[in-house]
Symmetry: C2
Subunit: 387 residues, 2 copies
């Protein structure tokens, strides 16, 4: 596989985009990324998206967006892995350029979740779980998260309030990110008073549904050096999977997909945990943040919260997470999220994160996009490219 | 990109599979292919499927099927390109092995369309067209085909009966294919009397919805030589796209995506049209068969039917098509179809097609999978591997 780099990034604000359609959102991100790269086209387009059929009656999204983005004719396809779709699309772009099949590939993640009534959106999102065995039991996707959180509280005997650290920190970061959905801080008291959604998950444990699109341009490291002085090396983008249904897992509190994907990515990148300067993790629910940190090897089992309490994962800590607000506060347009993470990590490595979010001298970043409750996990490792 | 080969193929019968679910069908095809290859696992799984969300409330199909197929943990993702999904999944397997990211990748196409009431299935299939502009006009997917056929009749001034050749020949072949859905011949009189579906498309112009799964195992040509004496060289698998909506096309009777994909595939394979010994085309409607032959360069514009009448595309003709029954008579489980085509082409090149369907001394085969009315086209070229 060839050595790769990201030479362009683009994103729309995350929020409720009533005025524009799926293809418009995607096109905005694609052209922001191509413009950023100084390019006027690409060889291939990989579209990450979860629910275009259910939300917008579109089941031919690759070609649809390629055409609307004035890239008609090029290779284009949709990639779906529930909420892990966007990074899975990046993985295909990596394979396309890594194999030599494409010189320049664009990965875009796009989702419009405010298109339909909330109850329909909730029902559609639940399909990230097992439609044959879990949904007939009445499980929603927040319900899946609630089962995990309940088990976490029981097994690790931690106080519920300890989870507050994750959303508080996410909101604190998001207020400085112009693309974030929730740009106001929250307090521990607000967390304690937050409305219960699916016990024990309250409103502030849960990331919001949203609309948005984010894109990156991938090419070879060799070409990147010629084209750009802001390129970022794409060291690894690796997929690990696990069972979709919770009842098929021997251990609810260990995300095997996270472990597999992280290990593969670190090995491919030739990096150790200590070398990661920031971690854009998949904090769809605050319990998933804790489980991700533990299963990825950044905290011992059951100790994600204690490390968080010590400030390990804040700005200035040993491993800053969700540096632009994460899923919780930047927002979670599901099939786009994985590329928001990669765009944000790239901004950090370029030294272009808005103050005070910039991690000083960030050299290596990890982004991890999770589908469902851990059944598809895509871990991307990026490195600053030296002059 | 490395040189590649197909070392295993598997397929379920096409039909109405009431007794089994999506994951069971896919698993059957995957393990038929792995057994055929003499392997007990793979590094990556690419799942082609169009409507798992709408038909079965499953929006996490890659991981779901990997787990059910006892491949849990491996890279797995769903690829969607409307009815072109299966060959698009093969394309991702090609990129995975071609890049060196995987040694052995499985591409499986799977669809269950009899899961829901027919009206819901019809509505879901329409999403292969443009959900924003075409569907609100009341267009169904057969309606899209009808517009194309009407235009073909008008512009090329051919008699409607001339199209009968395609379905008659498809049924004639399918009767010898044990995996085909319709295993009985039809006559010109039956075609003339067939019930109108969406004028001018009648019941026998139209491929049937169905359930089914087909899979292939892809590895490097080098490894294939060591592992198997029945491997088939995978010379090319190339994607071309076009607008999704018909109203965006300057010329309704020229499938630009077909032209682009065919040219790319022939160039990649280093083959000329005359070297193709058989063509598994995408005869979703009989007019699509004619347009495919013309846009791919196997017949002059407007002359697909005259060549067909002369027997050019029958068994013993210069370019046999739909040699196992095609979409029309083998059946069209949409997101699986592209891999049925590749499985059938592989059987031909191995000399394992059931008699009298075997094309004598077939050396090079082309399979072409079309999404929608030509917006995504994937063309695969295979060659017999000499000992």
């Amino acid at each position: 596989m060839k050595e790769l780099a990201i030479i362009g990034i683009g994103q729309t604000p995350v929020g409720e985009h009533w005025a524009v359609g799926l293809r418009d959102l995607a096109t905005e991100a694609i052209w922001a990324a191509l413009d950023d790269a100084g390019l006027d086209g690409a060889d291939a387009l990989f579209v990450g998206n979860m629910l275009s059929g259910e939300m917008a009656q579109q089941a031919h999204l690759g070609a649809l967006i390629a055409d609307h983005a004035a890239l008609a004719g090029i290779e284009a396809v949709k990639v779906e892995a529930a909420c892990g779709a966007a990074a899975a699309a990046l993985r295909q772009a990596v394979l396309a350029v890594g194999s030599g099949a494409a010189e320049v590939a664009v990965a875009v993640g796009v989702e419009k979740l405010t298109e339909q009534p909330p109850a329909d959106t909730t029902a559609a999102l639940a399909m990230a779980a097992d439609g044959d065995y879990e949904l007939p039991m009445g499980l929603s996707f927040v319900g899946v998260g609630a089962l995990l959180m309940q088990r976490y509280l029981y097994e690790h005997r931690v106080p519920k309030e300890a989870f507050a650290r994750f959303p508080i920190q996410a909101h604190d970061n998001a207020q400085h990110n112009p693309h974030a959905m929730f740009r106001s801080p929250i307090t521990a008291q607000q967390y304690a008073d937050a409305k219960m959604i699916a016990s024990p998950i309250n409103l502030l444990d849960s990331s919001p549904i949203a609309d948005g699109a984010a894109a990156v341009v991938v090419t070879t490291a060799e070409r990147a050096r010629r084209l750009s002085d802001r390129a970022v090396r794409l060291l690894a983008c690796e997929v690990g999977t696990d069972t979709v249904a919770l009842h098929d897992r021997a251990d609810l509190l260990w995300l095997k997909g996270v472990e597999r994907s992280t290990k593969k990515a670190l090995a491919r990148a030739g990096k150790r945990h200590e070398e990661i300067d920031l971690f854009e993790l998949h904090d769809a629910f605050s319990v998933i943040a804790a489980l991700s940190l533990e299963s990825a090897g950044f905290a011992e089992r059951g100790c994600g919260l204690c490390h968080a309490q010590r400030g390990d994962f804040g700005r200035g800590g040993r491993l800053p997470i969700a540096t632009m607000g994460g899923l919780k506060a930047r927002g979670h347009p599901v099939g786009a999220t994985g590329l928001y993470q990669v765009v944000e990590a790239t901004l950090q490595l370029r030294g272009e994160a808005p103050e005070p979010l910039q991690i000083p001298d960030a050299r290596v970043a990890m982004a991890q996009n999770i589908g469902g409750s851990g059944a598809t996990v895509v871990t991307t490792i990026l490195e600053r490219m030296e002059g």
